[in-house]
């Protein structure tokens, strides 16, 4: 497909973090079981509606996680994967760590939303280790989430502070998972990744041609 503006949605300005979180929340199908990674992905929970009936999983051992706990709700036995005190919703369940990761690894989660350093055109994810000399490696559940969930959404800024694209031909940081990312939500656009390469679904504050100048990989426009 040629580079054409006609088949993709656009907005006039880049999206802020909250707008991006709202967009991801809107794209989650009703009834889904979802794991939101630590950091920016956590914002998505602020925009999930009751009608969507989404069940949130936290990998330390719970389905049906509610909002962050405040005041008298705080209970040191009830925390999320980021070790933040949270609440439980009616219908919640608790389970041990191996069961919790079996939920992930067994392909039972519909969507996980993660942050990333880089995503390759074919959906390789790098988000666990900079590989810098002396850096202490820490992986947590990132590799399990990346390979286990049916859909892996990434939320990130499109460019590094130095202006380099984080969507790359091949990851230069150590990878977390191979070919696992299906969708990338950024401040400048929404991208679909997979064996066929990168498809642009939406652009924010730029044209497809401008995006193509920023990215080192060929872009296709999404079918109308």
């Amino acid at each position: 497909m040629s580079l054409t503006e006609t088949s993709i949605k656009t907005s006039e300005t880049p999206l802020g973090r909250d707008d991006l979180a709202r967009l991801v929340a809107r794209d989650i199908a009703p009834g889904s079981f979802v794991n939101l990674g630590i950091g920016q992905p956590t914002l998505v929970s602020n925009y999930l509606t009751e009608e969507q009936n989404i069940t949130l999983h936290t990998e330390n051992g719970m389905l049906g996680m509610g909002p962050e706990a405040t005041g008298g709700e705080i209970d040191e036995d009830l925390i999320n994967a980021g070790k933040i005190p949270v609440t439980e919703l009616p219908g919640a369940s608790y389970f041990h760590h191996a069961d919790s990761f079996a939920i992930m690894r067994g392909g039972h989660l519909d969507i996980c939303v993660l942050g990333a350093f880089q995503v390759s055109a074919t959906g390789d994810l790098a988000n666990w280790h900079t590989g810098a000399p002396g850096a202490i490696p820490a992986v947590g559940g990132a590799m399990d989430l990346a390979t286990g969930a049916k859909d892996v959404f990434v939320m990130m800024t499109l460019l590094t502070r130095d202006g380099a694209s984080k969507i790359v031909e091949a990851c230069t940081y150590p990878v977390t998972g191979v070919g696992c990312v299906t969708r990338v939500y950024t401040d400048k656009g929404v991208f679909l990744t997979g064996p066929e390469g990168v498809t642009v679904r939406e652009t924010f504050g730029c044209t497809l041609e401008q995006l193509q100048e920023l990215l080192p990989v060929p872009l296709k426009a999404a079918a109308a």
């Binding site: 719970m62 925390i79 191996a98």
Partner: protein
């Protein structure tokens, strides 16, 4: 054999130098702080410790590491803003690290308790954490062979034990408790309450007493204390 002891010191007294020790907990939830303090006090050293993290702040596992009692850490996430004792030992080359994806850590512990000799999993395939490991394509997906993690001792925290050593936990404090209890040769549990045999609904028992060797009661403090009362 199941024994009930009166102090955490007595509970950990048999832990030998060179042991592999699993320690339950994720964050502060389910962390058996009093048992870890007793382990520090008893002087056992040259330990291999299995935990999700590598200690936080100036308490528990972080102090064991600071005092040089830990030869090797097996964990998934040793890097935290307040894990300075592990950082210092690691950078000085004084502690060995086996970094394991969290789901592999849990499943390797579970496999040990279940008598499984190893398993293939897609987690980690194509990454540097799979380097040197056997791989296979199974059902069209690259998978990595992972082996069980056994331990001499597990230190865990539960809410209640009955006279048979059956355990129930509380909320996300359950985390590694049930699988570590099964994976270790000797499982030591600190509980908030010991109830008479028959005092737990058998339908609700999470860890059957067969996995438990030593039980000690430790009074609760903190934000969960009033909620369990």
């Amino acid at each position: 054999m199941l024994t009930f002891v009166d102090s955490v010191q007595e509970a950990v007294a048999g832990i030998k130098d060179g042991s592999t020790v699993m320690i339950g907990g994720f964050g502060n939830a389910g962390q058996p702080f009093e048992l870890i303090d007793a382990l520090l006090e008893c002087g056992a050293t040259d330990l291999t410790v299995v935990n999700n993290n590598a200690g936080q702040g100036d308490q528990g596992l972080a102090l064991l590491i600071k005092e040089g009692r830990v030869r090797k850490m097996i964990c998934s996430f040793p890097r935290q803003s307040d894990s300075w004792h592990f950082d210092a030992k690691y950078k000085a080359g004084e502690i060995e690290l086996e970094l394991v994806p969290q789901g592999n850590l849990a499943e390797r512990i579970r496999a040990a308790g279940a008598g499984i000799g190893g398993f293939f999993t897609p987690t980690g395939y194509g990454t540097m954490l799979a380097e040197g490991k056997e791989t296979r394509i199974i059902d069209g997906r690259g998978q990595v062979f992972e082996t069980p993690i056994h331990a001499d001792v597990a230190l865990i925290k539960a809410l209640k034990a009955d006279g048979k050593g059956n355990l129930v936990y509380r909320k996300t404090a359950r985390n590694f408790g049930p699988i570590m209890a099964a994976a270790a040769k000797h499982t030591i549990v600190q509980v908030s309450e010991i109830v008479p045999t028959g005092g737990l609904d058998p339908e609700n028992v999470v860890t059957p007493g067969i996995y438990v060797n030593t039980v000690v009661r430790v009074a609760r403090s903190g934000s969960a204390a009033e909620k369990v009362a």
